[in-house]
Symmetry: D2
Subunit: 426 residues, 4 copies
């Protein structure tokens, strides 16, 4: 039985790598080159960067005789690891016509072949450090699968005719619940959140630690487009008193009057999706909100955003009907809140459909220390100026998130599938 | 005896108002008009805005028959209260040649006279709401006294010949302690921080609440210029691995290589002070650091910045020798760490000399709600994108700060007297 | 009789210097410090710079034993003479609180006293080079008298309540001519323009040279506010086909829909003047136009802007009724076109009221060479990217302009008293 | 014989269209999508825009039953014709992933087929207006052939490893002349420049008109890299006195210290070319200069730039050995000055190798009127803020330029093959 783990890892490696390529199969070469804003990377760059990650953190040091594919790629495809060396500026990734897509695919094949050899080596199964790096690499590639979707969506949204990235699938209908949200109550007290060991997690999810929470309630579903439209119609974007100061400044400077990708259509409100322009499904969760908008909506609702520990307590203790995750051939847009199989069964859409803004600034947990070496740059150096989001979205890979998982973005970011769930003190 | 309180408040009101004018007595009219960056307000604007605060929040509603000084001032001198109405853009305060300084002084006299009448009214002594507003106005004016100093310092620093704001005083010498810092240890556990009632506090200092801290230690003094120079000489500003990602980007973009106001002089490092260019006192605390620099220094030291709750526990339980506060006629720059009167007596400079960056993002305490009305805009709407500083500086008025006092600035801010104290897990 | 000239120059020197100070007598210290955009200089700076000019180009080299007023002023008040040395950045003149206005006035007195001694010296009368420098200095100071007016106007226009710089005078009424403009025809052929010798002129006015012009006509008056309002009402600012490409881009980017300083008042169109907000005099010439607007208006009129040589031919050969020049105590705004004393007498307002945009790019005349030394930087290095304006305005000193006089500004400049006169091919 | 002209036009049409596609045959799809700065258009856009030009100005109105290829292309590929309708912003052409290159090629084929039908129609041969539009379209497409080269060069130059666009050809050697330049003298007097009729010319080349020139001389060759290196080594980029004011500001702000594309190589100065990084050929003409640099070099040389009429007189009256034009399979970079077949035979490189900056601002000739309709936007609306260049470059199509041909760019433009020839007064 001692060879089971490596085989399994190799299979999972292949699965994740193939999933990346499946995701881009319908895109044109031209689509994959464009960088529509500094936060967005071209698809081609994601394909190469995820490959560079394996080469840099595994193959170079662990596979004897490994031949680097190109001396130039370390400069071009290093994202932000100062410990690895100089790199191409993030905002200039759209200037990289070379390597071509074909070369990037050859690079992927080269690294995949070497990785499959590495993962077959006998000693790998016992080497925890290597196993951990492989898990990190898989999680990393899954994060970029999500970014491939959010980034190409932004690229296409900037085209004056807003073309679709993918054909519109025929998803099975669900029985939507369009009633008002319910509340699920929690006692608070001394709680334990974060995770230390066991299955893979990012370093920012630990250490496990105790806090004291006062009693609170969480809404049993995400805020819907219907809810959010009421906020707009009530003058939400024109009422300074609902907004954080920075948020109000942004509303004024950018002329925000609706979530990103909402447009007025002839037949009512529309939204740009990865399947092109669609009429707005009022039952579906609102997405593409900045933290500022989420916060203003919560204020208008007489509620607030959850603390990330409240969210984690909620996600850990109640069973939920999940929302959508990324599933090729299915809709790449959040859907209506599913009905519970039985009444009063608690939170819904905790996982999937939309990332949920929390009011927690992205900070280190008590006694957090980043991993040593360049890998330690993965999370810790970003703990400033961002807010934590929880739960995963319709663009997240199934199995990628968990109760302790912390995503983070600056408060003005809107191009992710970011929505919210209300919370309140009780 | 029932008329004692009003008299006392009236006296304190006069004292604070006179202190503001004393502060600007040596400045020229020309100095008081200039806005050297959007964060800085002209002295003249501070003089008028603090006056507008009394007029707006007290006189209009509480003093029968009060005659508004000018219908235009509500537009010109409202700082950020959306609830009060439209206002002049913050970044354009340097365009306001009118009203002249003389008119602003007449405005002050007009409001002071009306306030003295208000504070003499019999019913004021029993009216807690009014008393609270007066206390808020006094604290508000003291905050602007500090800003008058930090802002005029920035204005003069942008002059190519960097003139002094004030003559150099002859301060009494102190016995400086130039040894390495010591550590004071704390057990952690369940702690209570924040404040609810009793004497005046800002709404962001409450509610009082419980948290769990793990054992920690705080340095017994502020980081000195000598300490910080060692960081610079060790290549601190060139070592990406020490920095938060946003901080490193700032270092690169702005060419930061030392704290704001440090300059290379012919005879060694110099610093621009309110008394002009001076040689750097290595025993004095380092000031004019951004959060990024404070964080990088702590990383380089193998320590970290304190959590604001750790700082408050430290400040509340140990007796400290205070540093300098604002004192007209004395130096307006931080001085060397004072010796303890007896050995091992704990933390020093907890209050005064330099504001101390904590690693706590400025967030609402559990169950925090802003005050209703425009006064509620004082604090809550800024709880995003800023970090908490504690302890007060050489530009703070004596008696203005307390253990629960929370100051806050964006991480890139450097024009305040901002330094740091190290912390570590034990 | 050989001592007459120096006396006369000394008297003219005193007159010009006093006129500068008379101009600012009603301004507050606060008004004189502010720089409202990079093109604008604070009044205080103009007062000092004109003084520096005398010190730098005359006193230092020509007055034995002259004591420089301050070593710092050469850095602060050098405008753009690279040959003189390093200098303060133009866009940061609003940061100069020091020297105070009182010190600048003392500087003026110091230099005036030295200049009066210099101009009394016997040998000055025979020294043409010095005489030329004095004439240059006088013309230079007159140019800054005009800039003092246009700059303070811009400063006050940026104040939300747009205060007046000067009290409104009661000017004697004139009999306005509100009929359509007439045309004065010219044969063209070989013409001679520019000037070489004789009385003082700037180097850019020469050498005198020949050109060939084809037959043309000039409008007999400036374009009026009534004319320009018709252009606006006909959709001039919304009709791309009327505009130069750069102009149309500017209209779109800046939202231009009327000349600078036009505002909609309750009782009709208003204009901000040095005497505050006034209702628009439809008979007065339109001013505060960019080159782009002047060009679009001409296109809309089925005419064009004059070539600068056409203008000069017109100004040299016909006698005109002049418009207003700067006259303290009188209106500092252009007035209605005066009637000719006799019918058909030719061009009116050729001089005074408004600078007239020509379609001539500001270029060197054939065989032009700048004067040697730093004085040579006065004109030649600006011969790129600007257009020539002719004729002087209501802010120009009487006697300052002449037919060969070339003013120049970038095409987007609007804060000068810039208007236009139509021309056409015949 | 009456059917010869249409046949010939059809053949020329095919030749020009094929030449465009030949030019891009070696580029990758990825190369053709990128916009490296607002002035640069993606190759794919050029391919489509030139096609749109034929569709818009010929096919729509002249070919009965013509079926527009796509309703969206009129928005996407209109460059700057306001008369045609709304259009995509120039600076956002790099966001257009769609249509794909393959679709653009299909669009080209569609339009080529329709054009070949149109050009075969009997009445075309007699229709001067149509003939003129065809000639305009051919000249237009040739201009874009040049821009395809200069734009892709800029795109690739922004790649950190600066890849070659084309393989390096083996050009036949020429006998270079590396001596100092000689001077060819001209008498001036009344000259006639511009062109009115006869063979095709752009509207900005006329009307033919007379001017008066004073005696002048033109250098008999272009300024070489050797000449320009001497300017650099003599401190040209550090000597303010040589520069126009705007030019010096640009040098300071951009840190210019050499022409665009010059780089320090290990073995001496190198230059980035369409064939990749190469060592600098000192005998070749200097290119990629801004007007400011050309002007400063001329000043340093004790000479000046030619007036465009001087250049045209020189180009019209002397026979010259031409420099290189665009020739697929040959070098796409300027080469050394060719020797004259006989001594003293006059100007060399008047045509080809490098565009020559003149000191003439791009202005309308006397009595110039743009063509009516949208075609009239081709030239006239750009007559502001630009300078005239003459002679064509190594990227220009053979036969495209002539003595009266006026190219124009803003003074800061450096990405064209722009150099200079000296002139002087005699």
């Amino acid at each position: 039985m001692e060879d089971m783990r490596p085989v399994s890892v190799a299979a999972r490696f292949s699965g994740v790598r193939e999933a990346t390529q499946l995701l881009v199969a319908d895109l044109g070469v031209e689509d994959m080159v464009i960088q529509s804003m500094p936060d967005v990377s071209p698809t081609k760059w994601h394909l190469a960067h995820t490959t560079w990650f394996w080469e840099t953190f595994l193959l170079r040091s662990q596979l004897a005789g490994y031949r680097e594919y190109s001396g130039e790629f370390n400069y071009l495809f290093n994202s932000y690891y100062n410990g690895i060396g100089a790199r191409h500026a993030r905002s200039e990734r759209g200037l990289l016509s070379r390597p071509t897509l074909a070369e990037v695919m050859a690079y992927r094949a080269h690294v995949d072949e070497a990785m499959s050899r590495l993962l077959m080596l006998d000693h790998i199964a016992e080497n925890t450090a290597i196993q951990d790096l492989v898990e990190l690499g898989l999680a990393h590639e899954q994060q970029h699968q999500e970014l491939i979707l959010t980034d190409i969506k932004h690229v296409l949204s900037r085209h004056p005719f807003a073309p679709a990235a993918f054909a519109t699938p025929t998803d099975p209908g669900i029985t939507a619940d369009d009633g008002p949200c319910g509340w699920v109550e929690f006692d608070g007290g001394v709680v334990e959140t974060g995770t230390d060991g066991g299955r893979f997690h990012f370093d920012n999810e630990g250490p496990k630690h105790q806090s004291i929470l006062t009693p609170f309630a969480l809404a049993d579903r995400l805020v819907s487009n219907r809810d959010y439209r009421a906020f707009i119609e009530d003058g939400g974007y024109r009422t300074a008193g609902l907004w954080l100061s920075d948020g109000w400044a942004k509303v004024q400077a950018q002329g925000w009057a609706a979530p990103l990708y909402w447009r007025d259509g002839d037949g009512g409100p529309e939204i740009f999706t990865l399947h092109g322009q669609q009429s707005l499904d009022l039952d579906a969760p609102v997405v593409h909100l900045s933290y500022y908008e989420a916060s203003a909506f919560a204020e208008w609702s007489g509620a607030r955003l959850p603390d990330e520990r409240e969210w984690e307590v909620g996600a850990s203790t109640r069973r939920s009907v999940d929302g959508r995750f990324c599933s090729p051939g299915r809709s790449a847009h959040p859907g209506a809140t599913p009905m519970h199989r039985s009444a009063g069964a608690g939170l819904r859409q905790v996982f999937g459909d939309a990332w949920e803004w929390t009011r927690s600034a992205y900070s280190p947990y008590p006694r957090y220390r980043p991993a040593p070496g360049a890998v330690g740059e993965y999370n810790g150096k970003f703990m400033c100026g961002q807010f934590v989001l929880r739960g995963g979205s319709c663009a997240t890979q199934p199995g990628h998130v968990r109760p302790s998982y912390r995503n983070f973005f600056p408060p003005e970011a809107r191009w992710q599938f970011s929505g919210l769930r209300l919370a309140k003190d009780i």
